[in-house]
């Protein structure tokens, strides 16, 4: 087991990882930006060091500073959390070169799965269903031919894409060329790679993902699925597990395909296979996230397995202590992302001092956050400031519990999205589980 881990992240996920390390007896090193000098993760860890200015490019993405701190403190491993450097193949490779264990898959796997087009081809070869589209990167003319063959609407997607950038939806033939150029230029600007491919645009769909964990001995286990279809601008808002939309046969097949996908790239660690599911229940591989997910707590709640601890154990070379038959999904869990933004002002991000904080409690209510009273929410980072997770025996009870817990949550001093979440939870499509990814865009109020 590692003696000391450096956590190259901030906010609630850094706190979540530090907590796991404390339970495991592992010493922790936090790194923080100037704006985060009073942040909880910096106080909670055993050691903490400032690594740069307010911008993430100066601090949390400052690879040389992070590696220097790791060496100076003797941290044998780096946990990247999610976002930031978590899917950065270059950083993973630098860690390998510096004799530091990157808690995540190898640089090679990150790179393979980061190339969305390559990932798609690997999955197709592994017999995992993929969305109809081009086999590989396409030029304008080739892409147009494929789009015509596939049938409009189509999506033009950047090979190195992520975060919704470099994606263009094309509804008719005459718009294709323009959209192709825009997507290609956007991809070049955002990822320094203008290669794009074409995929059929499925609509309406559900976004359902499988949590997997695979150790270095070939043992692989799925920890159930998560329905993450409540989204706004491709950003998830509410996640739940299990998905009531899937029948048991589809769930079983999806789990089998997730295992196939994991084996196809010889994946090690925790990861997520994301699928799009159409109204007939047919599902297609969308992408693989080679890291811990924001919404991992819902899977933890229904399985009772601490995913972060197991991620660290697997990285340390410890075999999984449970097999698939030991994993029992019990009850239902829901997570709401608490974002510091104002839905009434076009989701304008909100920053400021938290003057009053009341965190909901009671049985099977969990609030993952780095907030505390008198904390100043800095304006430089992602607007997610907390995750409220509840667990109950049935979905209906979980929704009730979530509503009650949200009402109990009080954060004064900043704007946040509680009312929108309440509206979503009371929406009839959400209640009956038929909601799709366009629910928020269509309006829930």
């Amino acid at each position: 087991m590692f003696h000391k881990i450096l956590i190259a992240n901030r906010g609630e996920i850094a706190v979540r990882i530090i907590r796991a390390c404390k339970e495991m007896g592992i010493a922790t090193v936090a790194v923080y930006s100037l704006a985060d000098r009073d942040a909880l993760h910096a106080s909670l860890s055993d050691e903490s060091y400032c690594i740069g200015g307010n911008k993430v490019s100066e601090s949390y993405l400052n690879m040389s500073a992070i590696l220097t701190i790791a060496q100076a403190t003797g941290a044998g491993a780096i946990h990247p959390g999610y976002g930031l450097l978590s899917e950065n193949a270059k950083f993973a490779s630098l860690c390998e070169k510096c004799n530091i264990k990157f808690i995540g898959p190898s640089a090679e796997v990150i790179s393979k799965m980061g190339d969305k087009d390559q990932a798609r081809r690997i999955m197709k070869n592994a017999d995992v269903p993929v969305i109809q589209g081009s086999d590989g990167v396409a030029s304008n003319d080739e892409a147009f031919k494929i789009a015509k063959k596939t049938g409009f609407p189509v999506l033009i997607k950047a090979r190195s894409g992520g975060g919704g950038k470099g994606i263009r939806r094309v509804d008719k033939e005459t718009d294709f060329e323009k959209a192709f150029l825009i997507a290609s230029n956007e991809a070049q600007a955002a990822f320094s790679d203008n290669a794009v491919y074409v995929e059929k645009f499925l609509h309406p769909v559900k976004h359902i993902e499988m949590q997997i964990i695979r150790d270095h001995f070939g043992n692989v286990v799925t920890l159930g699925e998560r329905d993450c279809s409540v989204q706004r601008n491709n950003q998830k808002q509410i996640e739940e597990s299990p998905s009531i939309f899937l029948d048991s046969k589809t769930r079983e097949r999806m789990a089998e395909d997730a295992v196939k996908a994991t084996k196809a790239v010889d994946y090690r660690g925790v990861g997520t296979i994301e699928f799009l599911v159409d109204k007939d229940g047919k599902y297609y591989f969308m992408e693989m996230n080679t890291r811990l997910q924001v919404e991992h707590p819902v899977s933890e709640m229904v399985t009772g397995i601490d995913i972060v601890k197991w991620q660290i154990r697997v990285a340390a070379g410890i075999p999984l202590a449970f097999s698939q038959k030991d994993v029992k999904v019990f009850g239902h869990a829901i997570e709401c992302r608490i974002n510091a933004e104002n839905p009434d002002k076009n989701f304008m991000p909100s920053a400021g001092r938290v003057t009053l904080l009341h965190i909901p409690g009671g049985p099977w209510v969990r609030f993952d956050t780095a907030l505390f009273q008198d904390y100043f929410v800095p304006p430089f980072y992602d607007s997610m400031i907390g995750k409220l997770i509840v667990h109950a025996a049935t979905r209906e009870e979980a929704i009730r519990k979530m509503k009650a817990s949200l009402c109990e949550l009080v954060i004064e001093g900043i704007d946040y999205n509680k009312d929108l979440l309440m509206d979503i939870l009371s929406n009839s499509e959400f209640e009956d589980g038929t909601y799709t990814t366009d629910l928020v865009a269509r309006g829930v109020r």
């Binding site: 495991m24 592992i26 055993d46 903490s48 040389s64 220097t68 630098l94 510096c98 070379g317 904390y375």
Partner: protein
């Protein structure tokens, strides 16, 4: 506000077997400090960015062969006159040792590499001066190799592209090295009289006899950003005239403003620029080249 020592450390023993993980070690070959912005830069990033600092865009000095590799099409470069090597003609003290050290340090036999290559499919002659070989100083052999290259280009109706990086004439070869200025200039003139193109790319630093001869006699004089281009360097001038020089004096941008340099081209854009010039010279430029 929560203080740094607010939370007590739980008395939990390290779980599982205590396996000794070796400590992290940052290899010396991993990164360096940019001499301009002083920030840490990974060698891999520097290489991918053609030796330009990805943070401050400083064009760092690169080896002559690397430069050719960035400019020439893959496997298209054929070296010429590589057998010519400097001798201590004047029996100048310690020159033999300096030559040996320069060869070891630069892994090159001389201060310039000459040959032919293709740039995006167009044939041309190319020379590139080696900063690690006595700061690309111009001795008899450097002069001879460049002269022969111009003569070869003239005979075969080829354009010449030259990357100059030099501290000037090689002191250890005295008058013989200064003679190279006239010799190369004559070869450049004959090449030019035949209507053939010569493009010089002035890199940091281009100074002394090199500036005073073939660097400044090209048809098109391009320069890398922030390159020092001078005859006598700024420190020498300051000490002589006892006056503070204006900021940016003798830098590529300053020379562009004064008309000594035609264009400043970033290293990452040099291949396309040179291709466009060669293409234009050989009879036309299509829209897609611009």
């Amino acid at each position: 506000m929560i203080k740094r020592n607010q939370f007590r450390k739980p008395k939990n023993k390290l779980e599982g077997s205590v396996k000794d993980f070796s400590l992290p070690k940052i290899s010396e070959n991993l990164c360096c400090n940019c001499p301009s912005c002083k920030k840490i830069v990974f060698f891999e990033d520097l290489k991918n960015n053609l030796g330009v600092c990805p943070i401050c865009s400083k064009h760092l000095r690169i080896k002559a062969r690397e430069r050719i590799q960035y400019i020439a099409d893959e496997n298209s470069f054929v070296e010429m006159f590589e057998d010519l090597k400097s001798k201590n003609i004047l029996q100048f003290p310690d020159y033999d040792d300096k030559l040996k050290n320069a060869q070891i340090q630069s892994k090159e036999s001389e201060g310039v590499i000459t040959g032919v290559c293709k740039i995006l499919g167009i044939d041309c002659c190319i020379f590139s001066m080696e900063p690690l070989f006595m700061m690309g100083s111009m001795g008899v052999i450097v002069g001879e190799k460049i002269t022969r290259l111009f003569e070869y280009a003239q005979k075969n109706n080829m354009s010449v592209i030259g990357f100059t990086v030099s501290g000037g004439a090689r002191m250890q070869e005295g008058m013989m090295s200064l003679m190279q200025m006239a010799k190369i200039s004559a070869a450049v003139k004959k090449h030019g009289e035949k209507g053939l193109l010569y493009i010089a790319v002035l890199c940091d630093p281009t100074s002394g006899g090199v500036t005073a001869s073939f660097a400044m006699s090209a048809d098109i004089i391009a320069a890398e950003p922030d390159a020092l281009i001078c005859f006598a360097g700024p420190r020498v001038i300051e000490q002589t005239i006892r006056q503070k020089l204006p900021s940016g004096f003798q830098k590529a941008e300053f020379l562009l403003e004064k008309g000594f340099v035609d264009i400043i081209v970033k290293r990452t854009e040099q291949k396309k620029f040179l291709f466009n010039m060669l293409r234009l010279n050989s009879g036309g430029l299509k829209d897609d080249c611009l």
